[in-house]
Subunit: 303 residues, 4 copies
């Protein structure tokens, strides 16, 4: 249905300057643009203009941007969103730096998602001609790209239906209170061949649990953990492996308290992959497969 | 345009019984069906009925099967293939064990590709309810799934056009004799978010260079190499890393001389990923990034 | 001074049969001998008769065995231990199954250590002629060998002096309450080129904090974590990396509550390696480098 | 018998300036001293003054330095070497930059080995107080330390006897022409708990096959390979795994043609480890376990 990927995550931070070291030196993202109250970043393996926007003032998610394959996808999505009963508005070119026109939708969960087809092309740091597989001089973790976001919502079933019917995502892994007639309390959904491009779990509307960067592998996860220790980053959980998605992970916080994740691995999914079901009694194993414990911090802190 | 993935590789082997140990004990695939002159296998993380078919008599590729998302994709592909000038035929349910009806196309390169929408569902070895991330008792390498095939053809440009126009694949990495007006001598194309679901390089029509299995990571590649040594498998090249796709690899031969690959890693690609260009003078680096040497065996043996 | 390595760990378990699955199927050790109330195990890469002895009745450490290089080392150690003021006794051949005569010493910390020179040779599972680097059919984690033990004691300084003066160990990393005149509250000591063959931290005399198995690498640590999840093993902390030793780790409990560790990595140490100092305020970082938090369980539970 | 480790490798290079990039930028060693025709380097995890000395003029090995534990070891070694029939001489403090007095021995193989007890202390790049497990800003491969050397000799049996009787090394893995009465054609010997601190194979006296750097793990080996590709380093073989030592490896050449190795892994050895025997017919598997092929270059080029 046209959505290609999570393109940008726009979050609030309490202090822009305090965030600069975290996103620039610890994570190793590159500043591509600045305004008095915003910094725009990209990872080394992303070719679009930016993937993370920090905006001073508060914490939490301003909006998520998903890029669509064709400009006509925008009309179709707008239509379906309106039919679903969502508030939508057209956004014009330039309402986001470097981004073309598009559709802004308020989700059933009150989060804002923007769909767009055009964004300035910058290119990756290895280029398009006889490229090396990685740039030689990475800073800190050296994150290649963003991967997904996990948000909370009061009605996961409605949210899942929205992402399925309006945006064409597929549920890949689902958590229910119990088998058969249980309620949906979490869903990991994909618009690609990865296990998730968005996920939501039952909670307060409009909140961000975390957004994630994709790393190469389990050894890169450990290296990231070392950088976090050197830079005194507050680590929430990990390194560990997820049961859900099979991915490897560390959760950590930016200086404002927004939770980030470094994520690697995960299996291939397809349009015909039958969804996996987790029952709530196994949720701790689904989230943290190795330790099978959910800490209070992980389940309660959202921004 | 509807093609979801490489679903099966059907190859000839000189001696079915001699192949049984290689595919079953060394690679650790599971036999799902047998006929007097065929064995059907699947990997532990594949849910469809089979992904590799061995047929006794000779060597080389009988056909590749690609699964489409919707049954209506079959008509559209048939149409486009005929317009492209290819010979097509409808195949009926049962003409392949466990596979529904579909379209059989003779490629510009004389290889046979089958498109199908239905195949019996068997399920992975970890299941769909609170699954473990891997099955405990894997045999040998324990391959999760097939990944891609590389075939040779006299006219890579025509082949690339076919995969693009008829099947909706995107060129991800392309090798040209020189920049600007150079000829295309190889193309790695994708219908997913991986770097390749098919690849072809200039050579004799109708031949198979290799087909590949996807492994978890670089450490799994080393483990596979250890199993190959224990089982006296003929290794062609590797372990090493590709420049093209960034994947990690070992190439090896089945007892009949068909080349296999174990492959891991690779980056994410999207519908809007600009193609990467390799020039022929850097091809050795593109294929084997670390050693930058192509051996005679690798460039000359096809089946 | 003759001590070559930690040879065996002899622990009490509340229920021998309940322990069998943990040590045999989860960790994958091989039973080499049994008596009505004991099971003797070895890892696949150990050539001596056994390395772990379970004895029914209670929990905690019965004794540690360290193997010496020459039979004359036994006399010298006995002498030095008596001069140090320790209670020693000669143990005769057969007082430990498969072990020759030796010296039994009660440490300043009240733990019992046995020194011996002879133990039946069984051989590793890959043998001595053209060996493969690993056995093909490992069970569960498939631990190659034991690595070290960490015990608690009221007087770490006396304990360190004992291991240094009597057994010839070197302090590799030391934790002090503060720089300059601080008290020693932990010491990691080595008789090999690894970072530790014994460690002790301030606490109750006679107690075991954990004993450890050596795994190949960080990926093997993750695999072990997966097996622990499948077998419902109680995980204490990890996977993570230590600051002290730089090793990678998961701490977990056997069914009786004795803490085990899987450990990999660590740097090379030598007789002339200057000791590393950790100050107590950085201890959490020293123990768990990535997360920099000590949980209550880890610091309070000993057996 | 007192030898602690390989302390330095002193080699000739045809062009000092041409070597600077290789050892400094590609391998990431630090220059600690220079003279008009020499450069002294150390790795980040080495605390002694230097571990590699380049000297302009020709190629090949000038000498190997092994550090002993006690100054009295020098007399004992000198004695034993003379009894063995070797030419020895005392070297005075300063005859090697930063190195104390010692003993210089001409081996049966005509190589020169220097034994010394004192060398200026510089310290590692992570220090001795609450150290991080790795320095943040490594250059290129970022080699932590040297590991071993492999040299060729006409009479491996005499060489092995020398290293055993005079220097106290133990044979860990041995290659013989055939079982029982076969001739020794290679030996991997250790004075530590690693599988080799020196190795020799039958060949021309006085020649260097390679000297090696120790890396963390198999992933670090791949990363090194990437740096070699970026810097156009001539790679001989690898990445692969050895059967002998179980280590992981890439062999490559410095600009003068001296073969280097990056090496990781390997198992623990002890004074009582029974030697492993390889028969010549399995040598290819012993050297390159995965591919089981020795290339002409690897077997014929020495410097």
């Amino acid at each position: 249905m046209g959505v290609m990927r999570l393109g940008y995550v726009h979050v609030r931070v309490t202090d822009l300057e305090a965030s600069r070291f975290h996103y620039g030196e610890t994570l190793g993202m590159k500043v591509v643009h600045e305004t008095p109250n915003q910094i725009y970043y990209k990872g080394w393996d992303e070719f679009d203009h930016h993937s993370v926007v920090l905006e001073e003032g508060g914490v939490g998610l301003v909006k998520l941007g998903y890029k669509v394959e064709k400009s006509t996808d925008l009309d179709a999505i707008e239509n379906r969103a309106q039919n679903f009963g969502c508030i939508t508005e057209r956004m014009s070119t330039g309402s986001n730096v470097a981004v073309g026109d598009g559709v802004r939708i308020v989700l059933p969960s009150e989060h804002v998602v923007e769909l767009y087809h055009e964004i300035d092309y910058v290119g990756t740091e290895v280029g398009l001609l006889n490229p090396d597989p990685f740039p030689r001089h990475l800073v800190g973790v050296g994150v290649p790209r963003i991967d997904h976001a996990l948000i909370t919502c009061e009605d996961p079933a409605a949210q899942e239906r929205f992402f399925s019917e309006v945006l064409g995502f597929r549920p890949v892994e689902r958590v229910v209170t119990e088998l058969d007639d249980g309620d949906l309390i979490g869903s990991w959904m994909s618009c690609t061949n990865t296990p998730h491009d968005i996920a939501f779990i039952k909670g307060e509307n409009g909140k961000l649990h975390h957004f994630a960067y994709n790393l190469t592998d389990w050894t890169a996860i450990k290296h990231a953990g070392g950088i976090f220790a050197m830079d005194d980053v507050s680590v929430d959980v990990g390194p560990t492996q997820h049961g859900i998605t099979r991915g490897e992970t560390i959760y950590f916080f930016d200086p404002s308290g927004n939770r980030n994740e470094v994520f690697s691995g995960g299996y291939q999914t397809f349009a015909d992959s039958p969804p996996i079901t987790w029952t709530a009694d196994q949720l701790a194993k689904g989230i943290f497969y190795i330790g099978r414990e959910l800490n209070e911090r992980f389940t309660s802190i959202v921004t």
